[in-house]
């Protein structure tokens, strides 16, 4: 299951190695009904994002039309068909976070990073995204940076949070 964690930290994986690992992973999952989302999730974990060429490989291997695989990919905001920055900042705009000022967080982040939602900073460091509820409503407003959740964020805290990543 945890194919992502097999990645060796001391060696930067080549493109070819990544693709091979993805193909192995697909072989493991492809005969299970309803496993497409899991496959896409793991493939994005390995490759960083889901470009058309990779989705073509996946579609062929799971024997589904490319348009269907692409449709699923573009349905879920968690999947990205464009390269992402090293860190993906996701601002929750689910009901609780929205009510507690999620929108102001976005405004401030676009100011600090100089990018709009869905874009990546020129240095490839940050990608800014929006999502709808991460199940952390009690901590609202919340953002995540890669896998780390930041709770009760207010716009004034953001500069300090971002600086931790430089």
């Amino acid at each position: 299951m945890n194919i992502q964690s097999k990645q060796c930290k001391c060696h930067k994986e080549t493109e070819q190695e990544k693709l091979e690992r993805i193909e192995q992973m697909i072989d493991e999952y492809k005969d299970k009904e309803g496993s497409l989302i899991q496959i896409l999730h793991l493939a994005q974990g390995i490759y960083g994002y889901l470009p058309l060429g990779l989705l073509q490989i996946i579609a062929k291997k799971v024997n589904k039309p490319l348009s269907e695989v692409y449709g699923v990919t573009t349905f879920y905001s968690f999947f990205s068909t464009k390269p992402r920055g090293e860190y993906t900042i996701r601002v929750c705009l689910g009901t609780a976070c929205y009510v507690r000022g999620g929108k102001k967080i976005i405004d401030r982040l676009t100011e600090i990073l100089g990018i709009q939602v869905g874009e990546t900073t020129a240095d490839g460091k940050f990608t800014l995204e929006v999502m709808r509820c991460i199940g952390a409503c009690g901590l609202a407003p919340a953002i995540t940076i890669n896998d780390k959740v930041f709770k009760q964020v207010n716009p004034d805290k953001l500069q300090t949070i971002i600086e931790q990543y430089y």
């Binding site: 058309l52 989705l55 073509q56 062929k60 589904k64 039309p65 490319l66 348009s67 269907e68 695989v69 692409y70 449709g71 573009t74 349905f75 068909t81």
Partner: protein, 594 residues
């Protein structure tokens, strides 16, 4: 049986029926939109909602099955309000330029509006970002018109098994189309046009060729030749209010002449010619398989350009199985620009050939590089049945007042064998009427020459034809059991092709037509095409065949004369140059083209 009440009327319905079907059966028509009988029932538009007593919310009647004792209301205040609101919301993101839309007066969304009757546009807001994709020579996609009903998705995926159309993105940004907004001409679309038949609005339609044809007609220096496929005569009438299955061959010919075409030829003539070439090709391949190691059986028919593009994409390593015969209208085009041009003493450049086809894929076919000689295309334009009807109306002809006319010769006379090219099983039957007689000297031993097991609308049909007492030159075939299979629609083709790819195919000869039912329900035929309309067109085609004196291609006197005078031997040098073609490996992602 289930007892229920709809609008205080006590009715009974079969178990498993939906509320919509039960109502329809009892002459209560519930307004609906995305529903398409037997094809698309996913309740995506919600227009057909009804009130069911005891249910918390309104129910989509096309989805909910009848239950014993159910009480349903289809016209309450709540239902009518919801229906109107749904319509208004759909309309709020739809362009209201009906007068410049090709579906004007023929649009299901307009018809729904007529029923619901709104007096103002209540919702004005943001509009979706839209684009027009006219990259394909066959089909145009206009996303501004799309109302997201998803019928095309169902037809492309479930019925045809191709799947180039799907739902992309979500919410307000939803687009129906290929992956990554790829243009239609760059994906594995086979151009079958089945999506253009089911699209309720102007979002999916054939690429318009009408203006090009008028321009050719206006050009005094061009001789404009038109030909019509066998399936047109059995469907064109529907565009003028005739009952489905009415044959309008004679009126169609007169209409074409009155529009101003110089020659009105019949693709059927070339269908007879196809049989001579393809029949001989089959015998050559069977002989090679029996007497040598060269085995390219099963041989598969090649009349349907949608099917050809399908095999090029999905089974690019099996192209040797395709007959090398061009499709009939391409053969006729090639003959018009060679044989007929020589006869008239005209430069082929001064001849413009138009084919009226039940097919959108034919529009792509004429652009293939193999379909040109010395830079001159065999056929210059393809009109669908629908486009021809628009031209006839535009020309001011009262179709039902027209006298019956006759096709011009020498490329207009045909046998009944050519007529049945329009229906699934027809090309196979026509071929065997000739091949069997060629080999045995006797008529094909079936009642009324119909190979019963391969007639009809089933997905895959098979038969065994045993050859007994052949003529001396075909002695090697004595006792040979010719195994044949017929399918229509890409999904059936996939099944038969998987067998071939796995070297497990038991067949010697296979007929494939790209659209379910064959050309009678091609992507260029009148809307709607449902199973009963398909059946009526099929019967009409067989009626046309049975009404002919000559019913076997090799009996066509003009075909005989054409070989004596011009083509000489079947599969000979001239036929090879004019009537045969080659194919292109494509791959699902067109990877072989790069």
């Amino acid at each position: 049986m289930v007892n229920l009440t709809i609008n205080n009327k006590k009715i009974t319905a079969d178990e498993g029926m939906t509320i919509f079907e039960a109502a329809k059966q009892n002459n209560i028509l519930i307004p609906h939109f995305c529903y398409l009988e037997g094809i698309h029932q996913i309740g995506s538009c919600r227009i057909c909602v009804v009130e069911v007593e005891g249910a918390k919310s309104l129910q989509a009647s096309c989805m909910v099955q009848v239950k014993e004792g159910m009480t349903v209301y289809t016209n309450t205040e709540k239902v009518k309000k919801a229906r109107k609101l749904l319509y208004e919301l759909m309309l709020s993101d739809h362009p209201r330029d009906c007068l410049s839309c090709s579906r004007n007066q023929n649009c299901e969304f307009q018809k729904l509006g007529e029923l619901i009757q709104i007096s103002e546009f209540r919702f004005e807001g943001e509009k979706s970002k839209t684009f027009v994709d006219d990259s394909s020579p066959s089909i145009v996609r206009d996303t501004s018109k799309c109302i997201l009903c998803r019928r095309c998705v169902t037809v492309c995926n479930q019925i045809q098994g191709i799947g180039i159309m799907n739902v992309q993105k979500r919410g307000f940004k939803t687009v129906i189309g290929p992956a990554a907004e790829l243009p239609l001409n760059s994906v594995n679309c086979i151009n079958c046009g089945q999506c253009t038949i089911v699209c309720p609005v102007g979002a999916l339609k054939e690429k318009d060729s009408i203006q090009n044809v008028w321009n050719a007609l206006f050009d005094k220096n061009k001789r404009v030749v038109i030909q019509t496929a066998p399936a047109i005569r059995a469907a064109l009438g529907e565009e003028f209010g005739y009952e489905a299955g009415t044959l309008v061959t004679g009126k169609m010919v007169t209409a074409l002449r009155e529009i101003g075409f110089d020659d009105v030829f019949d693709t059927n003539f070339a269908a007879d010619l196809t049989i001579i070439e393809e029949g001989n090709e089959l015998l050559k391949r069977v002989k090679a398989a029996i007497t040598s190691k060269e085995n390219t059986l099963p041989m598969i028919t090649s009349c349907s350009p949608g099917w050809i593009k399908y095999i090029e994409h999905v089974f690019p390593n099996q192209l040797d199985h395709l007959s090398t015969c061009k499709s009939p209208h391409m053969m006729l085009g090639a003959l018009v620009k060679s044989y007929y041009a020589e006869k008239l003493g005209l430069n082929p450049k001064d001849i413009y050939v138009v084919s009226v086809m039940p097919c959108t894929a034919k529009k792509f076919e004429i652009t293939r590089p193999e379909m040109k000689r010395n830079g001159i295309p065999d056929v210059d334009a393809v009109l669908t049945t629908r486009e021809l009807a628009r031209m006839i109306k535009d020309a001011g002809l009262e179709f039902d007042e027209l006298e019956d006319g006759e096709f011009d010769n020498p490329l207009g006379l045909s046998t009944g064998a050519a007529d049945i090219f329009a229906a699934t099983g027809g090309v196979m039957e026509a071929a065997l009427r000739t091949v069997y007689e060629l080999v045995t000297g006797r008529e094909l031993p079936f009642e009324s020459l119909h190979i019963e097991p391969i007639v009809g609308l089933n997905q895959i049909k098979t038969a065994d034809i045993t050859i007994e007492n052949p003529l001396p030159e075909y002695r090697f075939l004595d006792g040979f059991i010719l195994k044949i299979a017929v399918t229509s629609g890409a999904k059936g083709a996939e099944i038969l092709m998987e067998q071939i790819a796995g070297s497990e195919s038991p067949y010697h000869f296979i007929e494939v037509m790209g659209c379910p039912g064959g050309c009678i329900s091609g992507g260029g035929q009148p809307r709607p095409t449902d199973s009963s309309i398909r059946q009526k067109r099929l019967e009409a085609i067989y009626r046309e065949d049975e009404g002919k004196k000559l019913r076997k291609s090799h009996e066509n006197p003009f075909i005989k004369a054409l070989y004596e005078e011009y083509l000489k031997e079947p599969l000979g040098h001239k036929p090879h140059e004019l009537l045969h073609t080659s194919y292109t490996k494509r791959g699902v992602y067109n990877e072989f083209l790069k």
